[in-house]
Symmetry: C2
């Protein structure tokens, strides 16, 4: 077992032990190459023997990484025919690894607009259901996230972002709807995307706190329609920021 950094034939680097497991590093590379189109939809991957040579990993590590890809809906394997890349419609885009790769590659405009459209649709509905369904424990989770945002105010962008994400995640969990909950990873992606596109944290902190507080209060008071409207306002600002940032991007 190697202990130093490994370069494959094609110069692709599999991280050494200090950083990432062989399998994880390989998986990330494969996902990157698929998402970027380097390994094109519909195409057939080289066979296992070639891939083990190319990436300089054992057959087992390769096959385990491939199983993860199958679970992502990205590939399908058949004896004799080989392994093909499936169409994008099949992929589990909500998987955190896939979303991370999309973000690092930088999606096209429809990536971001799809995300904000979905947010505008789902999060108000989740807030309304949270106002109806949230348990006391879930409520205090939301409140804690809000307090963390207050604490982080103007001190720490990273802490602010984490608390912001916690707030939104706690609400979608409190909705009690398992389908909405699947969307949680997309919220994280949206917040990261916003940060990257605008080069700053979403919204001015004071205005943001006000809007977050309105959502929290409506949920606490068990007023679904007020919660819905408050969340629509909150996401509306996020939408405007993304739209502006994308417009600026276009002018470059």
């Amino acid at each position: 077992m190697r202990t130093e950094r490994t370069l494959t034939e094609s110069g692709e680097e599999i991280a050494g032990r200090g950083k990432r497991s062989v399998r994880e590093a390989l998986l990330t590379q494969l996902v990157e190459q698929i998402v970027s189109g380097e390994l094109a939809e519909g195409s057939t991957l080289p066979n296992e023997a070639d891939l083990t040579d190319r990436f300089n990993v054992s057959r087992t590590s390769l096959r385990e990484a491939m199983q993860y890809l199958v679970a992502l809906g990205m590939t399908r394997s058949r004896t004799r025919a080989g392994t093909i890349i499936l169409p994008r419609e099949n992929w589990n885009y909500l998987d955190p690894l896939v979303l991370d790769v999309m973000l690092s590659i930088g999606g096209d405009e429809t990536f971001y607009t799809s995300l904000i459209d979905a947010r505008q649709l789902l999060e108000p509905a989740a807030a309304a259901q949270a106002a109806t369904n949230a348990t006391a424990r879930q409520l205090s989770r939301i409140a804690q996230a809000y307090e963390d945002m207050v604490d982080a105010n103007s001190r720490d962008n990273e802490e602010w972002s984490r608390a912001d994400l916690d707030f939104h995640t706690a609400i979608i969990n409190a909705s009690g709807n398992w389908v909405y909950r699947q969307f949680a990873s997309a919220i994280r992606a949206a917040l990261l995307a916003s940060f990257r596109l605008t080069n700053r944290a979403s919204q001015s902190h004071e205005q943001a706190l006000e809007k977050h507080h309105a959502v929290l209060d409506a949920i606490r008071m068990r007023e679904p329609q007020v919660a819905r409207a408050a969340m629509e306002t909150l996401i509306g600002v996020a939408r405007a920021e993304i739209t502006d940032a994308l417009r600026l991007d276009k002018c470059k």
Copy 2:
């Protein structure tokens, strides 16, 4: 490599070659045991050596199945500590295998109501966006599905169901929103659930055709708000049927 049916120590059967691969059969069993709670959230799985004995499979097959479970967000492995089952909030419930298991086990009431709530939220929005965004090819896909429903009318429930699912799937694809598209597997689950709970295909065919046609027309005519309203009506009927079926279920 065995050629006959295999019984594990605990009587669990791994399908023979004629039916399912070792890995797939094992994976299905593991997912079933996790979803059913037999392998409880937060608990630690037996170690690899014990699991290979229990299921009577090789280490390779087990490890490949485990990677799929990791991708489903169901387990996490750590050296020395072992492999733990993660909380339900982590699971990729939208994976077709997971949904199939949920359906075969028969979810509780909130499973179905979450599904119909999400449908009521997402599909009208998708129809509206399809009315704006659909390409000619996507339009003809939707139309073809509708024609297939017409052809299947009163002849073939299985064909009708397939066409119904195609119709809804085609619309969500035509929305052009990659987030909405992730919910396609949930729509399939919803339609299957409806069939199972009501013991018949959703809706009377004539009424259903009328409502589907209204959706198709609105999309064709590029009228988003009409498409939205038509889809709301269609899903509203599906909701009423599920609600009735669940109420009947309660009286048993």
